[in-house]
């Protein structure tokens, strides 16, 4: 079924390189006006997926539709109304102005129009002073901004961004992200962002598609992925720790009761009785208290004691490492004042509380 909001739809996409299946995507759609991030580890097939979606590479099987069109007509239309920025953009040996105006010239704009639009976009992106510079003299951050300007000057219906910040230092990375947030969203109809950086995906995108080993594991809003990760990889990329392991004792009140080193923990998830599970939790969801406090009047379902192994300052916060049930290495994040009040220090004992809904059990292995 095709949604009217879907500007680009890919179905049954398979890409093989020498008999090796590198991409196997049943369906992925980009909606008008949204920024969709494709997040995944290295070699997950992200860039291949982008090239296929941008119709720059033909898949071994499957097809894409752009604005309801398919085949050559779709490819031609997409060529005229999209632009791409690659991780390592190529510049033609000339000035910044020449490179930024290239796409406009290909679309038949007059010299005057090209010059006006190039000046406007470069001014908007704060690179107006670079117009006459030889591209060979640009820094990494400047080059990526020029590449972004070159794509955005076209006001594309779809902007494809292939790891645009991967090769940059942290300052330039922040600047490019800001440009993507501030200008790309405004000038491009929809944005497809390829990234391996979860912070980038979760902070910029409306929806995130997680690609692992060439397959889409989950597609949803950052909140959906955060609250209901489909598997342990997504749990990890959304910032969860996966050090707790145990086996399912029983199902009770829609929760799984899992034995972890002799402690019973209530979790959400689906796994059969007796099966081995990994439990994902986020360090910020653990509530630490002094070891002598009791749990009887609290709504949190899980309570156990742990030993502090390390206290490390993390800006205004403290990251606390703990030895939890079954000797599992765990992590919690608390504010500086909480750390001071609880007098957290290595070898100290604390009680730990965590809601059942904050623990996600996934089949181990």
């Amino acid at each position: 079924m095709t949604d009217e909001r879907e500007i680009l739809v890919a179905k049954g996409i398979r890409v093989r390189y020498d008999d090796r299946l590198v991409l196997d995507v049943e369906r992925l759609a980009l909606r008008t006006g949204e920024m969709l991030a494709v997040l995944g580890p290295n070699a997950a097939g992200k860039s291949t997926l982008m090239r296929v979606l941008a119709m720059l590479e033909k898949p071994t099987a499957g097809h894409s539709r752009f604005k309801g069109r398919a085949g050559r007509a779709a490819a031609r239309a997409l060529r005229k109304s999209s632009a791409a920025v690659f991780q390592k953009p190529h510049f033609w040996s000339d000035t910044v102005a020449y490179n930024v105006g290239l796409g406009l010239r290909m679309r038949g704009s007059s010299a005057r129009e090209v010059s006006e639009h190039v000046e406007r976009i470069c001014g908007l992106m704060g690179i107006g002073d670079l117009l006459d510079r030889d591209v060979a003299t640009l820094s990494g951050g400047q080059a990526q901004r020029v590449a972004l300007a070159r794509a955005l000057v076209l006001k594309p219906d779809i902007l494809f961004l292939d790891e645009p910040t991967a090769n940059l230092d942290s300052v330039s990375r922040g600047e490019i992200r800001e440009d993507i947030e501030r200008i790309a969203r405004q000038r491009a109809g929809s944005v497809l962002l390829i990234t391996h950086d979860r912070a980038e995906a979760f902070s910029l995108a409306d929806r995130v598609a997680v690609l692992v080993g060439g397959r889409l594991v989950q597609v949803g809003t950052p909140t959906e992925l955060y609250e209901n990760p489909a598997d342990s990889y997504i749990a990890r990329v959304t910032g969860a720790e996966l050090t707790l392991k145990g086996h399912v004792l029983r199902l009770e009140d829609s929760t799984l009761v899992v034995d972890v080193g002799g402690i019973e923990l209530r979790t959400v998830g689906s796994a059969g009785e007796g099966s081995q599970v990994k439990i994902a939790y986020r360090p910020e969801d653990l509530v630490l208290a002094a070891a002598e406090e009791s749990s009887v009047h609290l709504s949190t379902r899980n309570f156990f004691f742990a030993t502090v192994t390390e206290v490390r300052a993390l800006g205004g916060l403290y990251r606390i490492r703990l030895k939890g049930p079954g000797g599992a290495d765990m992590a919690a994040v608390v504010t500086r004042s909480a750390a001071d009040e609880l007098r957290l220090q290595a070898e100290g004992r604390v009680s730990v509380r965590v809601k059942a809904t904050a623990l996600h059990a996934f089949p181990a292995g």
Partner: protein
């Protein structure tokens, strides 16, 4: 008289015989170069930019063209255009047309081989980037070649250098006929044999200057194309 002093006299005084030979050489080699570019550049670019089976043997074959002995080319063209040859009906043997044909056959492989190496060095992401900005297949190819334009100019210069100084092929198919097919190289051979060292040296100097001038011109052309205004 010192041959060098005599040579300078002949050049500066505008000696009719010397200048006629010089201009004919440039006309013939220039025309041959134009024809060689017509097939050498597209062949070199096409092989250099594409990937296909048997590409390596094809490249080896093109590079072999660099080692073609001009006299052998001359002989082949002679047999081709002589009265009993397949192109005998054209009746171009011992005419500038036969010389242009022979020189084009010599320069073509030079241009093809050097432009092939240049096109081969274009990174594959150039085409991807060009396509991603909306270029059609032909435009994308031009944008790929734009990246190696200086090398393409060098390919043409190499082709010209190979034919302006060549003597064997033009001697065989042109016949060194006074006023018709006598060019600088064949005239130098003849005048040296005759003991007219002044004329030979004059033509030798001009030959060197022409080669130098053309290379400088092509070099400047390459530089100029690098600096053309951004919005052109």
């Amino acid at each position: 008289m010192n041959p060098f002093a005599e040579a300078l006299d002949l050049i500066t005084a505008g000696d009719l015989y010397v200048w006629e030979v010089i201009l004919r050489s440039i006309r013939i080699s220039g025309s041959a170069l134009a024809f060689a570019m017509l097939f050498g550049l597209p062949i070199g670019a096409a092989i250099g930019l594409s990937r296909f089976r048997l590409r390596r043997p094809v490249i080896a074959l093109v590079n072999t063209g660099l080692a073609l002995p001009p006299v052998v080319v001359g002989l082949a063209v002679f047999l081709l255009v002589s009265r009993s040859g397949p192109l005998g009906g054209l009746e171009i043997l011992y005419s500038p047309a036969a010389m242009i044909l022979a020189q084009a056959v010599i320069a073509g492989p030079y241009i093809a081989a050097v432009s092939l190496a240049a096109a081969d060095s274009v990174p594959p992401d150039v085409r991807l980037q060009a396509r991603a900005l909306g270029a059609g297949p032909f435009r994308a190819t031009l944008l790929q070649l734009r990246e190696v334009r200086t090398s393409l100019v060098a390919a043409v210069a190499a082709g010209f250098g190979a034919i302006i100084s060549e003597v064997g092929a033009v001697m065989i198919v042109g016949g060194n006929i006074l006023g018709e097919t006598r060019v600088m190289t064949t005239a130098i051979v003849l005048e040296t044999r005759r003991g007219n060292f002044g004329v030979a040296v004059a033509l030798g100097i001009v030959l060197l200057l022409v080669a130098l001038y053309v290379n400088l011109l092509l070099l400047l052309l390459g530089r100029w194309s690098m600096r053309r205004p951004p919005t052109s």
